[in-house]
Each structure stands twice: as structure tokens, then as C-alpha cells.
Amino acid sequence: MDLKKILLLILSFAMIVNVLYAGWIYRVTPKSIETASYTWGSEGDTVRQIQQKLKQWGYLKGNVDGKYGYQTWEAVKSFQAKNGLKADGIAGEQTLEKLGIQVKKSNQNQGGGTSATNKDIRLLAAAIHGEGRGEPYVGQVAIGAVILNRVRHSSFPNSIAGVIYQPGAFDAVSDGQINLEPDESSLKAARDALNGWDPTGGATYYWNPATAKSKWIWSIPITKRIGKHVFGKK
């Protein structure tokens, strides 16, 4: 009887842990944009993008918080009305397109491109997205610039892929966040970086002062601070 009780206890405990673990895995597993329609109750990066655009263009009065609420709904409605769309307050494919937000379908032909500089845009954008989501735009360009500065530097691998996938070089590569779908802002930042914009002053390192574990990193002379990151070159 007692043995059974203990067994039962262990088992139910294991099951609870299992369920929690599965839930956690589900939460942290990167999800790409699947639904191309956003409305009341939607949350996340795409909603944030919608809000940012609407705010810039003066439709949205509230804050950019990534939550589709009343104010967002109103803003989407007036944007739709002005752009000759059905003013239903639901940001569907057409509305997103007018807003200039890439939905998944069109994203797939993004990477291709015919020009020489376009080849690695996708990869660079994915690295920027994984490493610098939530950073200011210039901070995202800066991450791209550091990767490109490394490619040109003698003590790093000599290709974009080599630099990005160098073991242990980037957290977003180690934990798989690089596999997230890069958003529009990251693609734009990657393009600016490839076109030669370098906000870092030639930096080959960056780190977050709040989380950097290595003491060695602080021996690198700092060139710039942008957003949460410190940039430096040796």
C-alpha cells in the first residue's frame, strides 16, 4: 500500500513536471508568423510592427505595446478607410501589405535576389533578428556591421556564414534563435549594413554590460554604446 502510494506520488509528480516542461518547450520554441490576420487580442512582434507604423503615420494615439486593443483597432480602421480598404479593424493580408509589413508568403522570395550583395542578406538578417530584437534600429544595423567587420578582419573566419556560425560566437546561434523568421526591420538593417553603413566605428565585438559573463571582454577598448549593447574593437 505504502509502496504504491509512493509510486503514485512519484508518477504524478513526473507527469506534472512533464506537462510543465512540454508547456515551457512550446513557449520558448520560436514561432514564425503563420496567421496573416490580426485583430482584438492578438499579441506579438507583428502587432508591435503594425502599431509602430500606425504611430509614425499618426493613426495610433496609444502606446506601442504589442497588444491589439481598442486603440489599435480604431487606428487600423482609420488607416483602412484612408487607403480604400474595408474598414473592419482587422489587419488582414491586404492591410498588412499596405502597411508594408511582410507576411510569410512574400517573405519566401525575399532571400533570393539577383544582385551580388543580396546573397547573404537573409542569413545576416536572421542573425540580426536573433541577436538584436527589441534594439533600436541603429543598434540592429550595428550588429550587422560587427559581423561584416569580422569577415574583413584577419582573426575571424572570412565569410559571413563562417563568422555567424563560429562556435560560441553568438548566443542567438547557440540557442537556435537564429532560426526565427527575420522581421522587416532586420532585413532592412542587414541591407544597410551590407551597403556600408557602420554605426560602430569599425567594432568587431559587442556585449551587453548587464549580462556579459567574461572578464576578458572588458579588456576590449569601447568605441560606441548603442541601445543595450557596448561595441568595441581590439
Binding site: L7, A116, N158, G168, K188, N195, G196, P221, K224
Partner: protein, 470 residues
């Protein structure tokens, strides 16, 4: 309440039945089986990774050995045509060694100097190969560099072979350990050396002397000074703000805020003041701009507002004219547009100054124009600030006709210019620029006006939205 208790008791009773007991056992067995399976999977992946690293390590060792060996041989060569093939081999083997070493999970601090050494060795050998192909004798300085490089190659080869010996003696490299054990662990007194760590090399390579030669990884590139501003006076933050206002247009600006400045301790970087600009019709800053502390020139500017689509779009020609006007108004005279690329509704146009009919390609400025309304939304002038100066151009020794003869006959030449072009080592050469077609594909061929050497071939990638070179 009573009923509930009864139910609970009932349930408890049912659970304790034999039937329930066996179900529990089966579930437990399944969970255990699943666990074992997962564990074995993990071991498999771990082994796979270890094997990949092991392969990269062995290959790196082999290539470094070869390099060491070739460097010893090359000192025995006398004529350029004897040296050229061996240098070409070193060029290839050193690059392969660098690649494999770079794939290993070493802490960057401990391996970066070895990687740098291999990059430079490969690059240096390529430049020596070219020198030998040109039929030039290696001078004493070159041979001194070879000897020095050989010394470092020996050190690296020795350490790698010591590790190999450890392995042969039965030790194993635990790459996970190598990855974790950084300098902290090695730095402690009495700490045991991790098998596979490159501590000796990282120590001895620390003070590797500078290597200057004609190639992109040469140490002189890092130390180049910005020609446009190096002798100019330092400006204050307030003066910098005025530069920003003038550059963007004071009437458009609501406010300018200083967001940072380059740390004075940072070497080999152009010190700047960074500003953020809020435009009049906006709430948040949408323009970032860096102004050099010396001379107060705009290094770059980015306007990252997303424009609301207006429905109409400028033509490329209109966009170019807007950019030209923008540059002229900001005191960059005689700038000529060369390449451009349009993505979505923005176009980035490359400009270079033209002086006495010579195009100065090193003094590059990039301008980004919005095709929606023709606004200038980006500016980048690192090339211009680094390189622009009054050049003393060399005397032209070859006529255009003589230069033409250096090019393959069926290359259809359509346009000829004189141009200063930067080589990968940033060395500048004056060339005839022949634009034309070969097998229906557009190319540009550059022929040196002094030596007649073909310095560069560019392929032009042309489509409806862009003209770029490769």
C-alpha cells in the same frame, strides 16, 4: 462534504487495486524507456559533434604541418618562377588551416592571434605569388618576413603536434571542456592544462610583430588615418549640433539630441559625436547621425522612418538628380554616380568625385534616396573621409591604344575613362577604365597606365533595379 469524502475514498480504493498497480508499472516502464532512448540520442549527438571537432583539429594540424614544411622549402628558391608555385601552395594550405582552426570551439581570446597569423600568412603568400608572377625578385625585406613567419609556423605546428601526441598517449580532448574552460581556468596557478588547449600559442603569439605587405590583411590597413580630417581642428558638441542642423535643414528639425561619443581610449577609429534627430512632424527620433570630432564632417546618416506609400514613384533618373543636388549643396562638388541598387522603394547610389576627367573611386560616398518622395534618407562617407585628398597622379606612360592591346581581342569596348581605383590592400593605381561586353555580358577592365598591368576585372550585374559590380 460527506459525499465528497466518500468519493475521494472511493477513488483511493480504486487506485490501490491490483489492476491500477499494473497500469502504474507499465507507465513507469514506458517513461523509463523513453528516458533511456533520449539519453542514448543525446550521447549520439554529442559523439557526432566531438567527431566533427576532432576532424577539424586533425585537418588543421595537417595543414599547419604542410605550411611549416613549405616555408622551409621556399627559402631555398632563387628565381621568382621557382618561388611562385610554392607560395601559391602556402596561400592555399594556410587558408585551409585557418578555416579548420576557426571551426573549433576555442574561446576566441586564446585562438584569435593564431587565426590572425594564418590569415596573414595566406594573404602574404598570395601577394608574394603575384609579385613572383610579375617576374619581380623578392627583396631582403620579403625574405626577412618569410623567416619570421616560419618561426611562428613552427611554434604553432609544435603545439598542435604536442596535442596530437597527448591523444596518441591515450588522452582525449573533451571539446565541451575546451569550450567552457576559458582563460579563467587556465589563468589560475596550478590549474591543470586542459588537453587540447592552445595556451602556449596564445601566449607566444601575443606580441607578434606587425606584418606589412600588399594585401587586405596587412597591418597597415588598420592603422590608416582619415586623410580628410586628420589635420583638422577638434569641434565641440555644440558645433557638432550645428553641423547636424545644417546637414538636415534647420527648418525641418524639431530637436537634436547628443546620444553618445566615441571613447577616447579606442584606437584606430574615427572619433565621432552621435546625434538623434526628431523631425517636426514626428514624435520620436527617426534620424541617427554621426559627426566626426575632428573637422566636423558628417560620417553617416540614416533616416529610418517608414514612409507611408504615396502610390507614385520617382524614376531612377529623378532619384539620382535629387542625390546629386543634395551632395552639391553640402559641398561635395563634381560627384559622379556609378553603381546603384534599388530595393523596395529606396535606392542606394554610389558616388565618386571626378577631377580633371579622372574618376576617384576610393573616395566613395553612398546616398540613399526614397523613391516615394525623393527625400535623402541615408548618407555614408567613410571612403571619402578616409581617402579623399589632392593626389599626385603618376605620369601616363601608356597610350590608350597601347592599353587596348593588353585586353583580349573580342572584348567589345564601349567606353573609356581614366580612373584611380583602390586595390584590396588599399593601394591606389591609376588605370584606363574600359567598359565593354564579352560574350554579351558587361564587364569593366582596368589597365594600369604605367605598367600596362591588368589590375582588375569587374563583372557588371545589371537588371531593372540595379547596376552592381562583382
Amino acid at each position: 462534504m460527506e459525499e465528497k469524502n466518500n468519493k475521494l475514498y472511493d477513488w483511493k480504493k480504486r487506485l490501490s487495486s491490483v489492476h491500477m498497480y499494473s497500469i502504474t508499472m507499465v507507465a513507469l516502464a514506458l517513461a523509463l524507456g523513453f528516458g533511456i532512448y533520449q539519453y542514448k540520442q543525446k550521447l549520439n549527438y554529442r559523439q557526432y559533434l566531438q567527431n566533427r571537432f576532432q576532424q577539424a583539429f586533425y585537418e588543421a594540424t595537417t595543414y599547419v604541418d604542410n605550411v611549416d614544411n613549405l616555408l622551409a622549402k621556399i627559402k631555398l628558391t632563387k628565381e621568382p618562377q621557382q618561388s611562385a608555385p610554392i607560395f601559391a601552395q602556402i596561400w592555399k594550405e594556410a587558408a585551409a588551416a585557418q578555416e579548420n582552426l576557426g571551426e573549433l570551439p576555442y574561446q576566441h581570446a586564446s585562438v584569435s592571434s593564431a587565426l590572425k597569423f594564418l590569415s596573414q600568412l595566406s594573404d602574404f603568400s598570395f601577394s608574394m605569388t603575384n609579385k613572383a608572377i610579375d617576374g619581380l625578385q623578392l627583396d631582403e625585406e620579403d625574405w626577412e618576413k618569410v623567416s619570421r613567419l616560419q618561426m611562428y609556423a613552427q611554434t604553432l605546428a609544435k603545439e598542435l603536434n604536442d596535442i596530437k601526441k597527448d591523444i596518441n598517449d591515450g588522452k582525449r580532448i573533451d571539446w565541451e571542456e575546451v569550450e567552457k574552460g576559458g582563460e579563467e581556468k587556465l589563468g589560475k596557478e596550478g590549474a591543470t592544462k586542459i588537453t587540447g588547449s592552445l595556451s602556449e600559442v596564445s601566449k607566444q603569439f601575443q606580441d607578434m610583430p606587425q606584418l606589412i605587405y600588399d594585401g587586405p590583411f596587412s597591418d597597415h590597413i588598420e592603422r590608416m588615418e582619415p586623410r580628410m580630417i586628420r589635420d583638422k581642428k577638434k569641434i565641440t558638441k555644440e558645433e557638432g549640433k550645428k553641423v547636424v542642423e545644417k546637414f538636415i535643414g534647420k527648418d525641418k528639425i524639431a530637436s537634436v539630441k547628443l546620444t553618445g561619443e566615441t571613447d577616447t581610449k579606442a584606437e584606430h577609429t574615427i572619433p565621432v559625436y552621435s546625434y538623434e534627430v526628431v523631425l517636426k512632424d514626428q514624435e520620436d527620433p527617426t534620424i541617427a547621425i554621426d559627426v566626426t570630432q575632428q573637422g566636423g564632417m558628417v560620417l553617416w546618416m540614416l533616416n529610418y522612418t517608414d514612409k507611408e506609400k504615396t502610390g507614385k514613384e520617382l524614376t531612377l533618373d529623378e532619384a539620382r538628380k535629387k542625390a546629386e543636388k543634395f551632395l552639391e549643396e553640402r559641398n561635395y562638388p563634381n560627384m559622379k554616380a556609378s553603381y546603384y541598387e534599388k530595393v523596395d522603394s529606396t535606392v542606394v547610389i554610389n558616388f565618386a568625385p571626378v577631377e580633371d576627367h579622372v574618376i576617384m573611386y576610393p573616395d566613395l560616398i553612398k546616398v540613399k534616396v526614397s523613391m516615394d518622395d525623393g527625400e535623402i534618407i541615408g548618407f555614408e562617407s567613410l571612403g571619402y573621409i578616409m581617402m579623399h585628398h589632392d593626389r599626385k597622379l603618376p605620369e601616363i606612360k601608356l597610350t590608350e591604344e597601347e592599353a587596348r592591346e593588353k585586353i583580349k581581342q573580342d572584348f567589345k569596348i564601349k567606353k573609356v575613362n581614366l580612373a584611380v581605383i583602390p586595390l584590396e590592400s588599399k593601394r591606389e593605381v591609376l588605370c584606363y577604365e574600359f567598359k565593354g561586353e564579352y560574350e554579351n555580358n558587361p564587364f569593366i577592365v582596368y589597365i594600369n597606365v604605367e605598367s600596362g598591368k591588368q589590375e582588375k576585372i569587374l563583372q557588371i550585374i545589371q537588371n531593372k533595379d540595379s547596376v552592381l559590380t562583382q
